[in-house]
Symmetry: C2
Subunit: 310 residues, 2 copies
């Protein structure tokens, strides 16, 4: 049996990764400071990954063949410059060492499209071979950690890939982000003001994102792989899709159209080498997301009260 | 009093850094797994920096204002692809965190000219603004660690610089490297075959290298600073300088002239911003080195038996 450790398994993306890996027959061991009761999983391990001694002990106990590393500092807005990015980088290196020392052979970590340069000189479509010019501590930390692990893996015989996540949306997303905030405003009958409406980005439904990462893990593709749909969608269209699904076009106001270049994944590797393509159209992903938020409001749960983790 | 922690203080470059810092009035705390009895220093701490718990405890005890981090895996030949580069990267991140948490304000780490790309497309003179295309696990590890610390420092208010070392030579260098191996062969009356004789590199006497790093620490210059002389010297000239000093030109044979581009530091920052320039000419540096090796042979010490550390 293929045994996989998933860090950040109770988080926004982690939940979808866990589900996709179980569908593929993996025995899934989730690591999270706060395990989630509503995730179907083989085992939870409430380990603090910032503690390298505990991490090494955990990996020695589980002795997994596979690793998906998603845990990172993800506080909305703040994560771009959060000093804890450094702690997560060193924790990631320690985790990889402990995983390999315990016999692990295949690992995937989540990176970010922010590892590319987003300035006006880009075409807006990013192949993995493109230049990396991350502008933030978050982007630099992910890029540095990934570079290091890639070079190290070649020396120790670890099969290693980084999935560069574009813009996942869906259930359990941080409520302050675009899709949840518009959805919740409209569900509550409140106006939603949407900035940078003309900005084009690669939005991917989180279930597709999780399935893509699981497919990447199950392959032997090494290096960076973009995780997106390959389709650019203007922010305004996302807001309008939510409004249309709820019949509340009257509540959405798009301001500050935005002149930044698009941020869209080149999915040649994901399609051709990993063999994965996204299944959810925007309208369907939005409907699923709305249903989930509606269920949250109905059950009165403190939506998004758990800090989202990639 | 300015209190500085120097890691790798018993190593090849570390010894010169310690001496230069004491001249500048620092209280110097050396960290090394094996302290050196023959180094004048204020205190030795025999801490294993790969142990993050011990590192944190040490930094909390010393509470230094300054840090020079030189320790790294440096086994000759093997360090380029040594898997321990990963361990040193994460140890470096943990050290920086612990240093700042204990009140530290200014840090310098040693990088390497191998962080630049050495292929045929370069001009051979490397300004710090130049592209980084490290080709080895060692170069990638130094580059990634330095990038990360630079971005993190800006967020936590640490003043941080990386000194990119070119080609230091002198006493205590690993005996398998160019200058020691030619010197020892000629001292023993044996022939020395020198490869890549036409290769031009920026050789800097280790005392200058240590003094430059001390000057960099004592400044508030941030970012990358090349540590070299700014002068390219062909490998053949280095060998011939040793032969001339010993009157044994007959024993040196230069083979495989080499067609690689030069590797020379652009020292604009070191001169203009740090205010340092190298004092040793090649002939003098070579003479000092020969004298040291002669004293080693006379006292019968196991020359270079201690693994050199940067």
């Amino acid at each position: 049996v293929k045994k996989v450790v998933v860090t950040g398994a109770s988080g926004f993306v982690g939940r979808s990764v866990v589900a996709a890996l179980r569908l593929r027959g993996y025995e899934v061991h989730g690591v999270a400071r706060g395990p989630a009761n509503d995730v179907e999983i083989d085992a939870w391990h409430p380990t603090d990954l910032l503690d390298p001694v505990a991490t090494r002990e955990l990996m020695g106990t589980i002795r997994a063949s596979h690793l998906v590393h998603l845990a990172w500092t993800t506080a909305h807005g703040r994560f771009w410059s959060d000093p804890d990015n450094l702690a997560w980088s060193r924790a990631t290196l320690a985790l990889a060492e402990a995983f390999v020392d315990a016999g692990g052979g295949r690992a995937v970590m989540s990176g970010t499209c922010a590892q590319y340069g987003w300035d006006a000189t880009t075409t807006g479509v990013f192949p993995e071979t493109g230049e990396r010019r991350p502008q933030t501590l978050y982007g630099i930390s992910k890029q540095s950690t990934s570079d290091l692990l890639q070079a190290w893996s070649a020396e120790v015989g670890l099969s290693f890939a980084t999935g560069l996540l574009f813009f996942p949306y869906g259930p359990y997303e941080n409520p302050d982000r675009l899709v949840p905030s518009v959805t919740r405003s409209l569900l509550g009958g409140r106006r939603a003001e949407v900035r940078s409406g003309a900005r084009v980005a690669d939005f991917i439904y989180v279930e597709d994102c999780g399935a893509a990462l699981a497919a990447l893990l199950d392959s032997d593709v090494a290096g960076s792989v973009n995780i997106g749909t390959g389709q650019g969608i203007p922010v305004a269209d996302v807001a309008n899709a939510i409004a249309a699904a709820l019949g509340r076009e009257d509540l959405v106001q798009v301001v500050a159209p935005g002149t930044e270049p698009p941020i869209v994944a080149d999915v040649t590797r994901l399609l051709g080498e990993v063999g994965f393509s996204a299944r959810y159209e925007l309208a369907r992903g939005v409907r699923e997301t709305i249903e989930w938020w509606r269920s949250q409001e109905l059950t009165g749960s403190a939506a998004g009260s758990r800090p989202a983790r990639r």
